[in-house]
């Protein structure tokens, strides 16, 4: 059993399905939908089995506890890149989220009449392959390969299926991401060249880090060390994806013009890759620089939380409100990561899962409302509770989960993150608390505005969600309540690798790879 390359199957199953789709005639829409759903479902089942079975002990003596390790030479010696895949606690949840939201995307697209269905489904499956590759890669070059490859199907999805404003939004997104990732590529090359082991392999780089180097002397002014420059390159690439203010401006425009089915997995998983990259690469490979810039990153996170909330408060387009809300909530994840302690990172991982579930469901619900009423203006929508009692209930739970209601899933993540932030500096959760209070304001105003008060012309005669739409939402709602009541399984798997991340990020002085028992409360 152990020789079966499970992770490769997870990565390339959607790709194979995508290629197979090309053989299907474009008119056989049922077959196309069926094949897409079957492929995403098979991947999701496989991922679920892998994650459920990963409690066994991983390879010993490695800095990261990688399960289902696959390691082969990819590009031979001069480049020395490896086809190295592995699953750890962070990647496990990212992968599960990935499989889940793509399955959801396939279900959503099968309910809609999209022109050129074959192209859409093929691109969807390609994106899944690329994101799964990003998550599973344990080699810097392989990671970069998938990171860039992801943009290609995304670009075609946006440019072919987006709404009227797609041109500018797509341009902004692509330019930004490419600019960030080119910087990252330079940093990756620097890492390899600088490392005594001369490898792109993440584990090798972690085990034998290169020297930090002297600060660059720029006409007598001591700038950063090369390592700090490399860290900044990574940080900018991931900060664009996360996004942290002021690198966020691509996100609201893009979400606004994104096709609804693509938005589910776009918001659900693609934006989490920034957080993933920060935890997996930026804080582990650069333990020194990450502490040098910790306060900058924490400040940016807090600014992101409050700025995103204020923007959400002043918007009237419901999709843009949720886009800014998403930015604000991703800032909370950033806060957890840059707290650089076990609680913060565990909370960030838990919250990555939660936010993926919540934001995908939110956009699903908003998509349904937009489809039914034909408008996205908050002021034209009211009184839907009477027309759509089922949707009202689902939307209520999702709204509450989004604003961090205790008892629902995001509380588990946010509470843990805030505790971690508190252990770093006591004022941080207080500042983030402003974001929480504002979140209640704009989320409840959104929910109440759409659902309550007398009907408007646009909302009169709107019918409730269909049976199938309801059954797409039910598992998501069940997850929100289930994780809220019993978040331990999520935390347990996240915790499998968190201590390694914390140890790695605290630098070479820390004891090697032992769980941090008492990372020290506030005095």
């Amino acid at each position: 059993m152990t020789n079966i390359p499970w992770l490769s199957i997870v990565i390339f199953l959607p790709l194979t399905a995508s290629l197979a789709l090309q053989l299907v005639p474009g008119r056989a829409r049922g077959l196309i939908k069926g094949l897409t759903i079957a492929a995403t479902l098979a991947t999701a089942v496989l991922v679920a089995c892998l994650v459920a079975n990963m409690s066994g002990s991983p390879a010993q003596g490695t800095p990261l506890p990688l399960h289902y390790d696959e390691n082969q030479s990819w590009i031979p010696d001069p480049v020395n890149a490896h086809y190295h895949l592995g699953l750890d606690g962070l990647a496990a949840w990212m992968l599960a989220l990935n499989a889940g939201v793509f399955l959801l995307g396939a279900l959503v697209v099968s309910r809609r009449d999209v022109d050129r269905m074959k192209l859409f489904c093929g691109l969807l499956l390609l994106t899944e392959t690329a994101t799964a590759g990003v998550i599973l890669a344990a080699d810097m070059l392989l990671f970069y390969f998938f990171w860039e490859a992801m943009l290609i199907p995304l670009y075609f999805l946006l440019s072919n299926f987006g709404s009227e404003k797609r041109g500018r939004a797509t341009l902004k997104f692509i330019i930004f991401t490419v600019a960030g990732s080119l910087l990252m590529l330079l940093a990756i090359i620097y890492l390899k060249v600088n490392s005594p082991a001369n490898s792109f392999d993440l584990e090798v780089l972690l085990r034998t880090p290169g020297p930090a180097g002297d600060a660059v002397n720029f006409y007598g002014i001591h700038l950063f060390t090369p390592q700090q420059f490399a860290f900044l390159a990574f940080a900018i690439a991931f900060a664009i994806k996360l996004p942290l203010v002021p690198f966020h401006t691509w996100l609201p425009d893009l979400y606004e013009s994104c096709p609804p089915a693509a938005l589910v997995f776009f918001a659900g998983v693609v934006s989490k890759l920034g957080a993933f990259g920060f935890i997996r690469y930026a804080i582990t490979l650069f333990p020194g620089p990450v502490h040098d810039f910790q306060w900058l990153l924490l400040t940016l996170s807090v600014i992101t939380i409050i700025y995103g909330a204020l923007m959400a408060l002043s918007e009237s387009d419901i999709k843009r409100i949720v886009a800014y809300a998403s930015i604000s909530h991703l800032g909370v994840i950033g806060l957890g990561i840059f707290a650089l302690n076990a609680n913060g990172i565990n909370g960030a991982i838990i919250q990555i899962v939660n936010h993926g579930i919540i934001i995908a469901s939110l956009f699903l619900v908003l998509g349904i409302i937009e489809q039914r009423t034909g408008t996205r203006d908050r002021h034209e929508l009211a009184g839907l509770e009477k027309q759509m009692p089922y949707l009202y209930f689902f939307f209520l739970v999702i709204t509450l989960a989004a604003l961090g209601m205790p008892g629902l899933n995001s509380f588990a993540g946010e509470f843990t993150i805030m505790l971690g932030a508190f252990q770093t500096f006591w004022l941080l959760p207080v500042l983030a608390g402003i974001g929480v209070v504002l979140a209640c304001w704009y989320m409840l105003r959104l929910h109440q505005g759409l659902m309550h008060e007398p009907l408007q012309p646009r909302t009169d005669g709107v019918r409730d969600i269909s049976f199938v739409e309801g059954w797409v939402l039910v598992p998501l709602i069940a997850l929100m309540i289930g994780i809220g009541v019993y978040p331990k399984p999520v935390g347990d798997i996240a915790n499998l690798s968190t201590h390694q991340y914390v140890t790695l990020s605290s630098g070479p002085d820390a004891p090697a790879f032992t769980p941090i028992a008492n990372s020290g409360g506030p005095g």
Binding site: T249, M311, A412, L444
Partner: protein, 649 residues
């Protein structure tokens, strides 16, 4: 008490209301009114029976086993020490048993009453689902033995309050009031969460028994523990509608009247009192925080009592009276008189639920009229309701030998014994007594006595049995329940004796001791006289002379009457200082910073990059393909570049 018994009891008492909620929510809308009524009320009756069994167990338990903590399941386990670990744990002790009894007992009566009150409403299934959910959340809050679970219950009661305030969701005012209540309470939630972090930072645990066992880790009277207590108190103030987080409570009267009785009078708003009493080991070592709490409590009591005097909405008068009475409870637990505070909580739950429900009868009989200026003379039409309302009013005003008198005079006695600032607060409390008598009987006389003010009064009918019987039961309690505890040393102290295992450390509380005979009787005489003066004044003003409210207002100093009429201008102040500036800031930032600052530099960058990329191209037509090529090229280029670099080296 045995652990497994407590586990079963806690599980049952929580699951029963939850089952009622799920039943009503899922099948209620289709199953018909009878099913909804039965599922809604019987689930609470069943949990009341379980509560009685619990109560019996606690009474029967020997001194060493009065408090049992049980572990249901692990909520989150991220390691030891500073790493977060929390379990779904419940505690059964005298304090939680008392709370459980009040919640389910009063809750059951109000549920029965709701059957009648909501008889003509289409959303009755939704109503009972929310009400049952509230009982579940409140029980979760008082049984929680872990801070995380306490916070969950703490927030869920706010949620059910939000849902029920906004129950009539087609009224814009109800929608706004619901949101206001929720947001205000979230401010308190944040304070509570930060307090939890501070506690965890010292004792490395969120489990209440561990925290209370480890209070030795805090410096007595130190800034750290004072900070924790102030944060806890902010949480309590938000929930219990105390200054400065009180403005949501009067607006919350938009909800149906049974909701006001259950959530905004008897149980949820008193959760702040419970929180402070529960955390008494921390408050006992933070005297500064205790004094602040006592001052805020008494200040709110005075402010709300003044405001209640000139309100014209029957429910709002009672709402301000609730705020005022909770202020007294907060004053009591603030100065360390926990048992007495809980005693007043219990009597208040009874007589205030009664007042709301009786007011509901009036509102119902008059076809949803709430303006007391349009009532009058209802005693002739609604004899039973009038009599029961009078019983509630004498209890509220503190007429001698009625329930409210025992608890209120007892807690004022503690203040009189405290000396210094507490003695000053005691005299404020005497003034509150006068005001309470005034507004309580202003309400009673204006509504039930005198001449009918509108034709609708003539058509009013007595409420049906289903709405009268629960109120009558409460009426008996409002008159006689207080006899279980006398405000003198050495006499009957059933409540204090019952609670003493929880508060035994409070015996050495630094602020207030139980008064001896001299102080107790002196305080009692002064307090009672004040109450009687208030009642007498109300009798002269609103029964014998019957001037309009405006005339009375003229007799008060102009400033006081203005403040009273405008609720001390708090809504206007918050609107001008918080809400509007925030909205304006958000708007300005969206118009200037986002497109001007953030977006411009992005566009600048992207513009120059795109010019570089497509310098000789028509960007509109070949965009898609070119971009794909560009990106593939970038990826390949990366690989090739790294390879080249290596060859060169």
């Amino acid at each position: 008490m045995r652990v497994d018994t407590v586990q079963v009891l806690c599980g049952l008492i929580l699951l029963l209301p939850l089952a009622g909620c799920v039943l009503n929510g899922l099948v209620g809308p289709r199953a018909g009114r009878k099913f909804v009524n039965l599922a809604g009320t019987l689930s609470i009756l069943a949990s009341f029976i379980v509560a009685c069994v619990m109560f019996g167990h606690v009474i029967a338990a020997d001194a060493a086993h009065k408090a049992i903590t049980v572990h249901m399941w692990q909520w989150l386990d991220l390691g030891t020490g500073a790493n977060l670990s929390a379990g779904v744990d419940f505690t059964l002790d005298p304090l939680s048993a008392l709370m459980v009894m009040v919640i389910t007992g009063v809750g059951f009566l109000i549920h029965v009453y709701s059957v009648g009150y909501m008889k003509h409403d289409d959303g009755v299934a939704r109503f009972f689902a929310y009400m049952n959910f509230f009982i579940f959340s409140m029980l979760l809050l008082v049984l929680a033995a872990d801070l995380v679970i306490l916070i969950v219950g703490w927030a869920l009661v706010a949620l059910s309050s939000y849902l029920l305030i906004g129950f009539w969701y087609q009224r814009p005012s109800a929608v706004l009031a619901a949101r206001k209540a929720f947001i205000t309470q979230v401010i308190g939630d944040v304070a509570l969460v930060v307090a939890a972090f501070m506690i965890a930072g010292k004792v490395n645990s969120l489990s209440l028994p561990t925290i209370f066992g480890g209070v030795g880790a805090f410096d007595k009277g130190g800034a750290y523990v004072t900070g924790i207590c102030i944060l806890l108190a902010i949480g309590a103030f938000a929930k219990s509608a105390q200054f400065p987080l009180h403005t949501w409570l009067p607006d919350a009267m938009e909800g149906p009247t049974p909701v006001s009785a259950l959530i905004h009078a008897a149980t949820m708003v008193t959760a702040g009192v419970y929180l402070i009493a529960r955390f008494h080991p921390l408050f006992d070592i933070a005297p500064t925080a205790q004094l602040i709490v006592a001052c805020v409590g008494m200040g709110t009591a005075l402010m709300a009592a003044i405001t209640a005097l000139s309100q014209i909405d029957i429910k709002r008068v009672i709402a301000y009276s609730t705020m005022s009475q909770i202020g007294l409870m907060i004053f009591a637990v603030g100065m360390g008189a926990y048992s007495v505070g809980m005693f007043h909580f219990t009597t208040h739950a009874i007589f205030k639920a009664l007042l709301f429900l009786a007011a509901g009868n009036v509102i119902h009989a008059l076809g949803d009229e709430q303006d007391i200026r349009l009532m009058g003379g209802l005693a002739g039409k609604m004899k039973w309701t009038a009599a029961i309302f009078a019983a509630g009013s004498v209890s509220l005003a503190g007429f001698p030998l009625v329930s409210g008198w025992f608890s209120k005079e007892a807690l004022l006695g503690f203040g009189a014994n405290g000396g210094g600032l507490l003695l000053a607060l005691y005299f404020v409390g005497v003034a509150v007594n006068i005001l309470t008598g005034l507004y309580a009987f202003r309400l009673y006389f204006t509504v039930f006595q005198g001449k009918p003010q509108t034709a609708r009064v003539f058509a009013a009918k007595e409420a049906p049995m289903v709405m009268l019987a629960p109120v009558a039961v409460l009426g008996v309690g409002a008159l006689f329940f207080g006899w279980i505890e006398w405000p003198f040393p050495g006499l009957w102290h059933l409540m204090s004796d019952f609670l003493s295992p929880v508060f035994h450390t409070a015996a050495s509380g630094p602020l207030a001791q139980e008064p001896g005979w001299t102080v107790a009787s002196l305080a009692l005489v002064v307090g009672t006289l004040a109450s009687l003066i208030g009642i007498g004044g109300a009798f002269r003003l609103w029964y014998q002379h019957r001037p309009d409210a405006a005339v009375v207002a003229d007799r008060l100093p102009r400033l006081v009457s203005l403040l009273s009429l405008h609720k001390f201008y708090f809504d206007e102040m918050y609107d001008a200082l918080l809400v509007r500036p925030l909205c304006a800031l958000a708007r300005v930032m969206r118009k200037t910073v986002e497109p001007g600052g953030m977006d411009r530099w992005v566009r600048g960058t992207s513009g120059s990059v795109s010019e570089m990329g497509f310098i000789a191209r028509d960007t509109e037509t070949g965009l898609i393909r070119d971009y794909a090529v560009y990106m593939v090229a970038a990826a390949v280029l990366g690989v090739v570049a790294s390879a080249l670099l290596w060859f060169v080296r």
